[in-house]
């Protein structure tokens, strides 16, 4: 079983080569750091002061995440989750996948696994991008010192981990929708509508019940304790189980 999952996962990962989803993951991860970097190269005095500060990495973390957390990350997750699933619809390939010797739960979990790995890949590249926004200005301008403080790997990992968990309900619901609807616009439209609703509801005291809101709440730091891990993980499990049941009992598999 584990071996067949490994091969199915590898096969699914091969499909992402040159795909829009993989380009979106890479370019999306470096988009905000590139803008921040450009800004830091432009405002030399400010950059020098920040790099000399012991809180340089906290400063850069906030600079980068403030644009990413609320809008771009959830939007990217919506698009990538839908694009990966829609690869089969776009290429008329569900019938190919379902006529190969793979169990349905292996296909389902391998595809979901690929989306999650792409999300991890995004976080890794985004953190590398943040690191580069601290180091690169010092390479190009002697007036800017290299950051004096040590890069806080653990703190960055913890922060990224919490944002990762905040994204899980989005991944699971987008996956469910993309498996059910052949038209790409339906899952993306529903996803963007829910994201908009969650941004509007960010200050509402019961806003934390909206599954797409956890990235925003994590960034503004006003979430109830349950919204950090329990609620997003519960939503993820619930949506994944519902998604599997709908996929398994779908009448036509191609």
């Amino acid at each position: 079983m584990q071996l067949s999952f490994f091969y199915s996962f590898k096969s699914e990962w091969l499909k992402t080569r040159h795909s829009l989803a993989s380009w979106l993951t890479i370019s999306g991860a470096f988009f905000i750091p590139a803008i921040v970097l450009f800004q830091r190269l432009l405002y030399v005095a400010d950059s020098a002061a920040v790099n000399a500060s012991p809180q340089v990495w906290e400063h850069l973390y906030k600079d980068n995440w403030q644009y990413m957390a609320v809008l771009l990350l959830p939007m990217g997750v919506i698009l990538v989750s839908s694009l990966i699933t829609q690869l089969e619809v776009k290429n008329n390939a569900w019938k190919l996948v379902h006529s190969t010797p793979q169990k349905l739960h292996t296909i389902f979990s391998a595809k979901l696994g690929v989306i999650l790995l792409m999300l991890l890949q995004f976080f890794l590249l985004f953190n590398i991008g943040i690191y580069l926004t601290g180091v690169v200005p010092a390479l190009f301008n002697r007036q800017i010192p290299f950051p004096g403080a040590v890069f806080p790997v653990i703190a960055y990992l913890r922060g990224s981990g919490q944002f990762f968990i905040a994204c899980l309900p989005i991944v699971a619901l987008q996956y469910l929708l993309s498996l059910q609807f052949r038209n790409f616009l339906v899952p993306v439209g529903i996803g963007l509508a829910l994201l908009t609703a969650s941004i509007i509801a960010a200050k509402w005291k019961y806003g934390y019940i909206i599954p797409y809101i956890y990235g925003t709440l994590k960034f503004i730091g006003k979430q109830p304790a349950a919204a950090l891990y329990t609620l997003p993980l519960s939503y993820f499990c619930g949506f994944t189980i519902a998604s599997w049941l709908l996929y398994y009992y779908k009448k036509q598999k191609a």
Binding site: K15, L20, N92, K95
Partner: protein
């Protein structure tokens, strides 16, 4: 005779629609090229999708390689290559990468990729994306994907759709070669009668969800000996009376006399009798009865 694929009492109904398949008893002999003929909407694709588990079976049994499909789905699919309707290719990947996707699942040696690319004459496509291929190249790549894991049974649904005459000939030769040299059983559906006639050893004819005929091509063509015979004379009324009086099953039709199931010897005898009765016989001919005529007869009656 051992059957590579067999269905019994296979029936299917789409939600809210009339029955799509009714008691289909498909029997595909080992090593054959089985032409599955039928007009559009006859139920060919539905049958093939059921056989591959792409549609959930509602009634009947499917046995492949002597094993019930549902209980042995994984083992059976490991030995089956399938191309249903239009080719399923990842348009953003090259031919090589498309094959790598399947090679990973089937766990076959990577050198096999180059073998099948050579076989379908796509070895020199390099990094060109499958989305930029011509339809003929796409079909050939799809065939390569079905052959990658050395299947024992190929299930091809309308593989020549959209191909130009040259592409159709190439496809036919390719299928004949792999059947002859590798002993692969091929189940091929089509609505193109000449293609099936040139390619198949066995034929199944389906219409409105019912299997009307199933046997070898020779058996089907042998039925031409029982083809209708048309006689033209200067006096059809008198001829009709004369022949009916002798117990011949004959009817007047469009200015001719039409007889069914008459042997060559009997035709000669009837001719002599008409001439002896003073009737001028203008012509006697057997209605041309090729696969197309047989097919039309079957689906119209």
């Amino acid at each position: 005779m051992s059957f590579c694929l067999e269905t019994t009492q296979l029936s299917y109904r789409f939600t809210g629609q009339e029955t799509a398949l009714e008691n289909i008893h498909l029997q595909v002999p080992q090593g054959s090229i089985y032409g599955f003929l039928g007009p559009n909407g006859a139920g060919k694709t539905t049958t093939l999708k059921l056989v591959l588990g792409l549609l959930k079976k509602q009634q009947g049994h499917i046995t492949i390689f002597g094993k019930p499909f549902e209980q042995h789905r994984m083992a059976v699919l490991q030995q089956v290559g399938a191309l249903i309707e239009s080719p399923s290719l990842y348009s953003h990947l090259s031919a090589l990468e498309n094959l790598q996707v399947l090679q990973t699942i089937y766990r076959c040696p990577s050198q096999r990729i180059h073998e099948v690319l050579q076989l379908v004459d796509l070895a020199n496509t390099g990094h060109k994306k499958a989305g930029q291929f011509s339809l003929g190249m796409k079909q050939r790549l799809a065939i390569a994907m079905t052959l990658l894991h050395r299947p024992s049974l190929l299930i091809l649904d309308e593989p020549t759709n959209g191909l130009d005459p040259n592409g159709i000939i190439e496809m036919r030769e390719l299928l004949k070669t792999i059947n002859r040299e590798q002993g692969i059983t091929i189940l091929i559906s089509s609505h193109l009668l000449p293609e099936i006639e040139k390619l198949s050893t066995h034929i199944g004819i389906i219409h409105k969800g019912k299997l009307l005929f199933q046997d070898t091509l020779e058996t089907l063509m042998r039925s031409t000996q029982q083809a209708p015979v048309l006689i033209s004379t200067n006096n059809n009324t008198q001829s009709l009376q004369l022949l009916q009086a002798q117990g011949v099953h004959v009817a007047a039709a469009n200015g001719h006399l039409l007889m069914q199931g008459v042997s060559k010897e009997k035709i000669a005898l009837i001719n002599r009798q008409l001439v002896l009765a003073g009737i001028d016989v203008y012509g006697i001919h057997t209605q041309h009865h090729d696969l197309e005529a047989t097919f039309m007869d079957l689906i119209n009656h």
